[in-house]
Symmetry: C2
Subunit: 311 residues, 2 copies
């Protein structure tokens, strides 16, 4: 299905339920809300599935569009959902449309629009809405700006493209309240998160003249900082922020004597080779594994595994 | 002077020296290097004034274009320089062209092109280069991307506009190595800076249910963290990052018993009114003052002044 077909087929349907993915992020939420608003603007009935995993910072954007319990949809649209293990199992085999940018989309929906070259699903939704002739209102522009900005780390990640910036330019010109999104999502952190980061950098382990950095996150640190799961996004990126870093690892204590390890590298080293030593794997620059040991011991084991590949 | 006139007049000249401002940032450096490269591409002689305040992270971009001591320029161009107190006093009265986006540009140059609606001077340089018919090479695109991204905090600050994103889209399409710039300038911090931030958040003082946050930065902390002046950019922004913050202050010990205070507020409170109590001032949302007291005492005095305006 291409953008034109998707727009035409959606225009023929009504009573939409739009589904977001597990642990929903700004892209799936922004895409869902934008599509919901636009369909309503066309005189259709549309609601968003009340995903119970939406975190506090996103709730104000999506909650007003949550479907009531007794809403009976006749067309289910999944946005930014790569496979059918989306939040509610009840949707298996019942998804009419999937709009997505994940190359690994499994084709679980009846009609699938995948554009894997797009940084964010919101960029594809923008194309579909324009093809349907929907006006891009300031409200729609704001949530689509949320999509493209969150999936690219506010345009700082390497998945950003010229088209991402062109979409942002178009959305800001259409009245997106990008200042609110930027302040709320990129320039603010919870006090607990900032306390946890402070503890992490205070206890950082540095090796090889500072080119290897290992962060340890214990259950005790999380308790002292008062963090919830919401505060623990992307902890794996922290030690790699240090200037000169070449290999970083984050050791996170999941339960007593059991840790999850995330390894990040530049182009010089293979993160997955390091993690394979412990039965894990992943990509060349980002991989993971689990080690059954207390965090300090797990950190030593990872440091030793890194020492073995160091050249 | 408008863009067309600026392009025409520059094309008539040769033997350029391009001047950056004091404590040069990514915008003045990116603008200078881009203009220098483009003029050389037109077959002209062009160098950049070797500003001694360029910091390590920017040196690789600008150093290859530094003028030798005995270079005799016949046309001096200042970029992103608001007034004539640019670095070297020797330029007073000798600047032929100023290209700038500061509304407060004092008109110190013979010919001035000011476009104050632009987020970055680099956006104006891009317009001038295109008007001159210069090809936007990947090298030029990279340093102009540095201009627009640094002056907008990687598109997160409120001075970002649709045109900023449109310029970024154009520069990335022209081959800007934005991934290198983003990694080097936005996703990396020195170990000393991260240690200092950790200490700041560990010792944060919070009042009014966490809506007032005061950071203290002592000379002792800076010594322990091993920071240099380069590591201390924008410390005033740190306590305001906390979710729910309404008034933040950063107390920085300059010398024993003497502190500089930066106050930041949202729209509800007047930062300059708080600072005026101590003989300082500034803008409604960003103001400063100095207090002759040890940092702990100065923080208490600021907390008390905030308590007086709290409603």
């Amino acid at each position: 299905m291409n953008v034109q077909e998707c727009a035409r087929l959606l225009a023929e349907r009504d009573r939409f339920l739009i589904v977001t993915h597990r642990r929903p992020d700004g892209d799936t939420i922004g895409s869902a809300v934008a599509l919901c608003c636009a369909l309503r603007g066309m005189g259709k009935e549309a609601f968003v599935y009340p995903n119970p995993q939406v975190t506090d910072s996103y709730m104000p954007f999506i909650a007003p569009y949550f479907a009531h319990e007794d809403y009976e949809a006749s067309c289910v649209v999944a946005v930014d959902v790569a496979d059918s293990n989306m939040y509610a199992n009840g949707f298996s085999g019942k998804v009419d449309f999937a709009i997505d940018h994940h190359p690994a989309n499994t084709g679980y929906a009846q009609h699938t629009l995948v554009m894997s070259e797009k940084s964010a699903c919101g960029e594809i939704v923008l194309l579909v809405l324009k093809e349907m002739g929907c006006p891009i209102t300031p409200e729609i522009a704001t949530v689509l700006y949320m999509s493209v900005s969150t999936d690219t780390g506010c345009f700082a990640y390497s998945n950003t493209t010229a088209e991402t910036h062109a979409a942002a330019a178009e959305l800001i010109a259409a009245g997106a309240d990008f200042q609110h999104i930027n302040k709320a999502l990129f320039r603010t952190a919870s006090a607990a998160r900032l306390q946890l980061e402070a503890m992490i950098f205070t206890n950082l382990r540095r090796y090889q003249n500072g080119e290897v950095n290992i962060a340890i996150v214990t259950l005790d640190m999380m308790k002292k900082a008062g963090t919830t799961e919401d505060d623990c996004d992307d902890l794996a990126a922290l030690p790699g922020k240090i200037a000169g870093n070449k290999i970083s690892a984050t050791v996170r204590e999941l339960t007593e004597n059991h840790c999850k390890i995330s390894v990040r590298t530049g182009t010089e080293f293979d993160a997955s080779a390091i993690c394979r030593k412990f039965g894990g794997g992943g990509h060349v620059m980002a991989a993971g594994c689990e080690i059954s040991a207390p965090p300090e011991k797990a950190a030593e084991m990872i440091a030793e595994a890194i020492r073995e590949v160091w050249k």
